[in-house]
């Protein structure tokens, strides 16, 4: 535990962290929501960001901080997901700003494998490039391409699209 005790924060620490969170926070949250859904994804995001604050010195030297924190978050939420077979991106009865959630789409996404769902949502919902997805997930671009292709095919089948 002693090794994890952070040095007292300085004003430059706080400024650096604010910049860091502004630059990377949105993308990290998107990645975790795509992977785990809103409920667990937001929890994972919170835990990852606090870990980032407590380990800010280490994080300053990391090349891909979003990918690094994505893996930190994965380890943090693993106990929550041990018994969980399917991930719902949203509560299907949830109403968002007067518009009901696309229940069929959410249910169809829940049937995809986690890598497929993560890749499809990041690419088609959040507009990430294949390379960006590959960097954060720690896989090759070819693998991301495969996940998006297969995931989209399955969604089209489930939703009756050609």
């Amino acid at each position: 535990v002693v090794a994890d005790v952070p040095a007292p924060a300085t004003e430059s620490d706080a400024a650096w962290f604010d910049d860091f969170a502004s630059l990377n926070g949105v993308r990290l949250r998107q990645a975790l929501i795509a992977r785990y859904g809103v409920e667990v994804g937001c929890d994972a995001f919170s835990m990852a960001l606090l870990w980032a604050w407590e380990h800010r010195d280490r994080l300053r030297t990391v090349d891909s901080p979003v990918g690094y924190l994505f893996r930190v978050a994965q380890s943090k939420v693993r106990p929550e997901l041990r018994w969980q077979r399917r991930v719902a991106l949203l509560e299907v009865d949830e109403r968002v700003d007067g518009e009901y959630v696309d229940v069929d789409l959410v249910r169809a996404l829940a049937t995809l494998s986690r890598p497929q769902r993560t890749a499809v949502v990041l690419v088609h919902s959040y507009g990430w490039s294949y390379a960006e997805v590959a960097e954060v997930l720690g896989v090759s671009v070819a693998a991301v391409t495969n996940h998006v292709h297969r995931g989209s095919l399955r969604l089209r089948g489930l939703l009756g699209e050609r």
Binding site: V5, P8, V26, L50, L90, D102, R156, E161
Partner: protein
Amino acid sequence: MTNSLEDRLGRLRVQLDDAADRRQGTTGGAGDDVVVDLAPRRRQQRSALARVLAASLVVAVVVLVLALVLRPSSTPPASSPPQWRRLDRTAIGFAPQTYVGPFTTTPNGTLVALGQQIHGKGQLTAKAWFSRNGSHWQEASVPADSQTPGVVARLRGRTFAASSASTPGISLWSTRNGERWTKIPTTGLEDASQIMLGANTNRVIAVGSRNGTGAAWTSPDGTHWAPANFQDAPPSVLSNPVWIDQQFVALGLTNDNTWSTWSSSDGTLWRLATAATPERLGSLYAPTNSTRVYGIQYETAGGTLADGGSFGGRLFASRDGSAWTEIASFHQRLPVANPDHILRAHGWWILSGNTGTPDGRRRADIWMSRDLRTWSELPRRLQGNTGRGVAVPSGSNSTSVVAAAGADDRSLWLWRP
């Protein structure tokens, strides 16, 4: 309108962002606000556990029935303690490098935090923030001031905050809604120092010292102040005024570190209630409509566990200020707890402060009790960062209870009853 898979997935982004913003209690769009929430809601874990538990339901029921039948003295099961979340203050509206001092609540239910921001090499700026829900805070408009408004009192819809400098020179602010504070004149308080505020339904009082002697003042409106009189020789300074059971009670301290308790029916004439007052008593607190006042005996500065009894805070209570009794369960159950604030909210007693050994490795912590006999503590994962001891002020409104640590530990704890 097209409705291809790509279009539907594109629209899903908005729905996900909106749901995430609501989930994290923010009002900004598309994830611009970052909220660090350290207490994951366990809905999905509970769901998974429920499946496991369902398999052994029959066994569990049998065990439960046997336990209830065989238990010799039946005490009601304790309610589950408050479920706190730990948030990063800078992600919910507080500026970096801020200390949060007292919390209070305006008559319209707005939570208010007073504090200061540290700039550069220690320059201070007084700050205030307000929130409806405890998880999204906005900076209030405050007068330009370097003194920390450290004490508060409420009178007829107005909330007053005063600085408590050790030298004469009082700064007094006032607000109605917590969003805008104004500095008000302090006629009659010119020579006051070490001020703390209290109030009942028709007047606000200030206690402190004047020229090295304990003094008190009363005001019907917070602006015009009149000095109070003392029936007995006053101490060096008065502090911690609270209104309880039709009288004001305050603590007195002499230059030779002798504590005493003082009382006054209306704030204009003070008398010695008792000289038998626990030393190092402070943080007096009287819940609304309570007939008791509560206080914390702080640990001896620099004390160690080997000193025997000087370490760890102790909780005391008094019916009228004339006799103090220790609520021994707190220190017995939590011998290294060092609380500095007391709050009664939503059926719970909530003490906050720091825990740990007095070697500088302490963590902000919160302790809770329904009955002042049995206590629970924040789980280790939710306690503050290890560091030097910090004060952890607390506050509540109808929907939220909050507590905050110092500048090095940017945590704010939130419980939604």
